[in-house]
C-alpha cells in the first residue's frame, strides 16, 4: 500500500510539473505538443549533470545542480518551438511533433556518442546514476520520500499565484484569449508568448528529470518518456487549464500509472489474473475516457494555436 502511495505521488509530481508547463504555454496562446521532447531533453540535461559530478559532492549541491541543468536544457530546447511558432508563424502541431522526434533522436545520438567515446565497445544509450540518485531520495521507514514531491507542490503554489495574482500572469492569459485586445492596451504579445513557452520548457525539463528518477537508477534514452508528455496534456485538459484542478487530475492519473508498477503487490488485484499489459494500458485508456467525458465544455484559451497577426481583427 505504501508503495502504491509512493509511486502515485512521484508520478503525480511528474504529471503536475509537465501539465503546469503546458498550462503556461497554452494560456499565452501557444499549443505545446513538444512537451514529450522537452521532457527527454530536460532528462538528458539532468542525467549528464549527475554523470559529470564527482563522487563526493554533497547532496544539496547534486539536487540543485541537476535541477538547474534540466531547467536550462528544457528552456533552450523550448526556444526552438518559440522561435518557429511565434516569430515565423509555423504550424504549432508540426513543430511540436518534430520536437518530440528530435528530442529522442538527439538524446540517443548524444548519449551513444558519449558512451562510445568513453568506452569503444559500449554502443548503448544508457546513463547510469545509482549514486547521485540517493541525493533525491530520503527513506522514512519503508517509504521512499522524493524531493520532487516538494518541488511539485512549490511549483503548484507558484503557478497559482503567478497566473491569478500577478500582473504578468493576467497579461499572459490575456494573450491567449484575445491577443489583439491585449496588444491594444500596450502588452507585447510576442514577449508574453515567448515567456509562456520558455516557462513550459523549464517545467517540462523538470518533469523529465523527475520522471527518469522516479523508479529506476539508469535510463535508456532510446525509449523517450513513453507518452508522458501527452498524458500531461490530457491532465491539463481534464484540469480545464486551472492549476488546482490540474493537481487533482494529476493525482488521479498518477494513481493509474502507479498501479501498473505495483499491481502484483495487491492480493486481490493479482487474484484477478489480468495480464500486466492491461495495467500498462490503463493510464491511456482512462485518459481517453476522461477526455471524452470532459472535452465537451472545454475552457481552452480562445486564441491557442493561432499565430498572432497584428493586422487581424
Amino acid at each position: 500500500m505504501l508503495l502504491l502511495i509512493q509511486y502515485t505521488l512521484i508520478f503525480s509530481s511528474v504529471l503536475l510539473l509537465v501539465a503546469l508547463g503546458g498550462c503556461f504555454s497554452e494560456h499565452s496562446g501557444v499549443i505545446n505538443l513538444g512537451l514529450e521532447g522537452i521532457m527527454v531533453i530536460g532528462a538528458l540535461g539532468g542525467a549528464l549533470m549527475m554523470r559529470a559530478m564527482p563522487a563526493g559532492t554533497s547532496a544539496l549541491v547534486i539536487v540543485l545542480l541537476t535541477l538547474l541543468a534540466a531547467i536550462v536544457f528544457g528552456v533552450v530546447y523550448s526556444a526552438l518551438l518559440a522561435v518557429a511558432s511565434i516569430n515565423f508563424k509555423a504550424d504549432q502541431t508540426i513543430v511540436g511533433t518534430a520536437l518530440n522526434m528530435l528530442g529522442t533522436a538527439a538524446a540517443t545520438v548524444f548519449v551513444k556518442a558519449i558512451n562510445t567515446a568513453a568506452n569503444p565497445n559500449d554502443h548503448s544509450a544508457t546513463i547510469i546514476y545509482v549514486e547521485p540518485k540517493k541525493a533525491f531520495v530520503k527513506t522514512i521507514g519503508s517509504f521512499e520520500f522524493n524531493w520532487f514531491m516538494v518541488v511539485a507542490v512549490i511549483v503548484l503554489i507558484l503557478a497559482y499565484v503567478i497566473l491569478y495574482k500577478t500582473r504578468f500572469g493576467l497579461r499572459l492569459m490575456a494573450c491567449g484569449e484575445h491577443p489583439q485586445a491585449a496588444a491594444s492596451v500596450g502588452i507585447n504579445v510576442f514577449k508574453m508568448r515567448w515567456a509562456g513557452v520558455l516557462i513550459s520548457g523549464a517545467l517540462g525539463g523538470l518533469g523529465g528529470i523527475c520522471y527518469i528518477l522516479a523508479g529506476v537508477s539508469q535510463w535508456q534514452f532510446e525509449y523517450g518518456v513513453a507518452g508522458f508528455g501527452f498524458l500531461a496534456l490530457a491532465v491539463m485538459i481534464f484540469g480545464q487549464w486551472k492549476p488546482l484542478r490540474i493537481a487533482l487530475a494529476a493525482l488521479l492519473f498518477g494513481l493509474f500509472r502507479a498501479l501498473s508498477n505495483v499491481y502484483a503487490g495487491f492480493d486481490f488485484l493479482a487474484a484477478l489474473n489480468i495480464p500486466g499489459t492491461v495495467y500498462n494500458m490503463m493510464p491511456y485508456i482512462v485518459s481517453l475516457i476522461v477526455l471524452a467525458l470532459t472535452s465537451g465544455k472545454s475552457r481552452a484559451p480562445k486564441a491557442e494555436g493561432i499565430p498572432y497577426d497584428k493586422g487581424m481583427r
Partner: protein, 377 residues
C-alpha cells in the same frame, strides 16, 4: 522565370529541397560536434545507402530492400496527408499501422487466411481505430492528436498481447510466415525476380496506385471537395449542407485504413517479425508525418519524399559505428520535419518578393508610358 516561381508546385519543390539541404547541413554540424573526423563520410554513407556497395546485383537487392520499406512508409504518409487535407492531424497513424500489423499477422498465423483477406482485415482493424478518433473528435470534441497518441499506446500493448500466442517458442518474435503461413505472403508478380530479392512484392506498385487514387479523390471528386471544404471551415461546410461530423469520421476511417494497409504491406512480405516485448511504438507512422510534409502535402510528392526518408533511414546503419550510431538518420529526418514548419513562411516571403517586383515593374511601365505621352506633345 517569375511565372515559374509563382507556380505553387514549384514553390513547394523549392521549399522541400531547401529543407533537405538545410537538414543535412545541420546534421553535418551536429556530427562535427560529436566527432570531426568521420563526419563527412558519415553524411555520405547516409545519403548513399545502397549506392555504397560496388557489386551490381547486391546494389539492386538493397534498392529492393529500401523499396519494400518505402511502400508502408508511403501508406502512412498518405494517411497523415489525407487527414491533414481535412484539417486533422492524424498522429494516430502510428497506432493504426500497428493495428494493421496485428490483424494481418494474426489472421495469417492463427487462422491461416490467404494474403488478400489478411490485407482486408488489416484495413478494417486500422479503420476501426481511426473511427474511434473520429467519433471522439466530432461528438466529444477531443483533440485528435491527444486521442491519437493514447490509442497508439493502447494499440501497441494490445498487439503485444494478441500476438503473444503466435510467437516462436525460443524468442520473443512472431513466427516466420515462410514456414508457418506461406499462403499469406504477398505475391511477387515477377518484381521479386526483377530485383533479385524475394521480399519485393506487389505492395510497391499498389502503394503508388493508392497515392494516385488519393490524389484523384482529393482533387477531382465531389467527395474530396466536400472533405477539403470541411477542413477549411467546419461551420461554413455545415451551413452549406455538408454533414461535417460524418465527414470527419469518414476521413479518419479512410486515413486509418491507409495506415493499416501499410502495416500489412510490410509484415506480409515476411521481411520482419513482430517482437511481442516491444515497448515503443514503431517509428513508421511518425516518419509518415515527415514524408507528408516534405512531399509538399501532395500525394505524388509524398511518393518521392517517402522514398528519400526511407533511403536515409536505411543509410543510417552504414555509418562508421565506432564514431556515430545509426540514429543519426532519425536525427536528420526530424530536423527536416522541424524545418518543414517554416515552409509556409518561406512561401509567403517568395510571394511577397514577387508581388513587390511586379509592383515596381508596373510603376516603371507607367512612368515610361507617361514619358512617351509627354514626348508626343
Amino acid at each position: 522565370m517569375k511565372k515559374i516561381l509563382k507556380n505553387d508546385a514549384v514553390q513547394s519543390l523549392i521549399a522541400s529541397l531547401l529543407c533537405i539541404i538545410l537538414g543535412l547541413l545541420i546534421g553535418y554540424i551536429v556530427l562535427l560536434f560529436i566527432n570531426p573526423e568521420g563526419a563527412w563520410d558519415a553524411i555520405l554513407a547516409v545519403l548513399k545507402n545502397f549506392m555504397k556497395t560496388a557489386n551490381h546485383s547486391r546494389r539492386v537487392k538493397l534498392l529492393g530492400a529500401t523499396l519494400v520499406r518505402t511502400a508502408p512508409l508511403l501508406m502512412c504518409g498518405l494517411s497523415v496527408l489525407f487527414a491533414y487535407k481535412v484539417g486533422l492531424f492524424n498522429i494516430g497513424a502510428a497506432g493504426q499501422y500497428v493495428a494493421g500489423v496485428c490483424a494481418s499477422l494474426y489472421a495469417a498465423l492463427a487462422w491461416h487466411w490467404g494474403w488478400l483477406p489478411c490485407v482486408l482485415l488489416a484495413i478494417v482493424a486500422a479503420a476501426a481505430l481511426g473511427a474511434i478518433v473520429g467519433v471522439l473528435k466530432s461528438f466529444c470534441n477531443v483533440n485528435e492528436v491527444i486521442s491519437g497518441i493514447m490509442l497508439n499506446w493502447i494499440a501497441l500493448y494490445t498487439t503485444n498481447m494478441i500476438l503473444m500466442s503466435q510467437k516462436q517458442e525460443a524468442s520473443h518474435y512472431t513466427l516466420k510466415l515462410k514456414e508457418s503461413a506461406p499462403q499469406a505472403i504477398l505475391p511477387g508478380a515477377g518484381l521479386d525476380k526483377l530485383l533479385g530479392y524475394d521480399k519485393v512484392t506487389i505492395a510497391i506498385p499498389l502503394a503508388i496506385i493508392m497515392a494516385i487514387i488519393v490524389y484523384i479523390v482529393m482533387n477531382r471528386t465531389r467527395f474530396g471537395y466536400e472533405l477539403r471544404a470541411t477542413g477549411n471551415n467546419r461551420n461554413a461546410a455545415k451551413y452549406a449542407g455538408m454533414a461535417e461530423k460524418r465527414n470527419i469520421i469518414l476521413t479518419l476511417v479512410i486515413a486509418g485504413g491507409l495506415a493499416g494497409l501499410g502495416g500489412a504491406m510490410l509484415y506480409l512480405t515476411d521481411i520482419e517479425q513482430w517482437s511481442v516485448t516491444q515497448t515503443s511504438v514503431p517509428g513508421m507512422g511518425f516518419n509518415g508525418i515527415a514524408a507528408t510534409f516534405l512531399g509538399g502535402l501532395n500525394p505524388i510528392g509524398t511518393i518521392f519524399s517517402s522514398f528519400f526518408i526511407q533511403h536515409i533511414t536505411d543509410g543510417g546503419p552504414n555509418v562508421d559505428l565506432s564514431h556515430y550510431c545509426a540514429q543519426i538518420s532519425d536525427l536528420i529526418s526530424s530536423i527536416i520535419i522541424y524545418l518543414c514548419g517554416f515552409v509556409l513562411f518561406l512561401k509567403t516571403a517568395i510571394n511577397r518578393g514577387l508581388a513587390k517586383s511586379d509592383e515596381k515593374q508596373a510603376q516603371k511601365e507607367k512612368k515610361l508610358a507617361a514619358e512617351a505621352k509627354g514626348g508626343e506633345k
